[in-house]
């Protein structure tokens, strides 16, 4: 009967890992929100995205969560007018990363909620475990 609790721990820890990977990518995006290219010919930083997916363990009959893919957002870059910039083109426009800090912060908040919910699962599994152990006490 303890086994499902152990499984619960493992599934929740896979969730913690996935959400922390998401936070890592979001922080990468935020940190590079203003990273322009070195010259007009090359592209600036492109926003990264994370996709989660199932990792089915047939022997245990459990569906863990994992990072399926870290991709890039192919939406167009923002153009700002900054003629003094070394990366400016002939019209004085500079290509800036396609990162929207507000969107990233919303994503960060969501990852935070997911992380907390997984922590709550671990807490609860621990409580159930100790309730079971308490049965041994007279």
């Amino acid at each position: 009967m303890i086994d499902p609790i152990q499984t619960s721990f493992r599934v929740a820890s896979s969730g913690l890992y996935a959400q922390s990977m998401r936070m890592r990518v979001v922080s990468e995006n935020i940190a590079n929100a203003y990273t322009s290219a070195a010259d007009a010919a090359s592209d600036p930083y492109r926003r990264k995205t994370v996709t989660f997916g199932d990792e089915l363990s047939r022997s245990e009959g459990v569906r863990y969560v994992g990072v399926r893919q870290i991709g890039v957002d192919m939406s167009p870059f923002r153009l700002t007018h900054d003629p003094g910039n070394p990366a400016a083109n002939g019209k004085g426009e500079v290509k800036m990363p396609n990162v929207d800090p507000v969107l990233e912060l919303a994503d960060l908040r969501e990852a935070n909620h997911g992380y907390q919910a997984n922590l709550q699962v671990i807490r609860q599994a621990r409580d159930l475990f100790s309730l079971t152990l308490d049965l041994l006490k007279a």
Partner: protein, 126 residues
Amino acid sequence: MVESAILQLTHRHAQWLMARQKVLSENIAHASSPGYRAIDVEPFEKLVAAGGLDLRATSPRHLRIAQDGTRAIGTRVQRAFETSHSGNTVSLDQQLVTANEVKQAYMLNSSIVKSLNRLLSSAIKG
């Protein structure tokens, strides 16, 4: 004996609660997976009505049978509470509320087993 019947029922209930805890943790871990549909275990009433021992298999591959010979607890896709843009139907709030229900029920269950133990030991000791 009434005591053994109660013990059997609490044992089955605890198994069901554990299966539910496992399913809940899967749902919560998949709260951001695209296309994931939240699942839940079958109701306990249904499990009790099935008697738990009615399914027999001649090969372990025929039917899902738990290790102790009782019927394995089935799962089903939950009615979608809310569906996100990615097709995910996990609602974290709802899952956490259900998790709390599981904990309360498990506390009740273990208290019943404890009091039954007390009852039996006082009967033995006199």
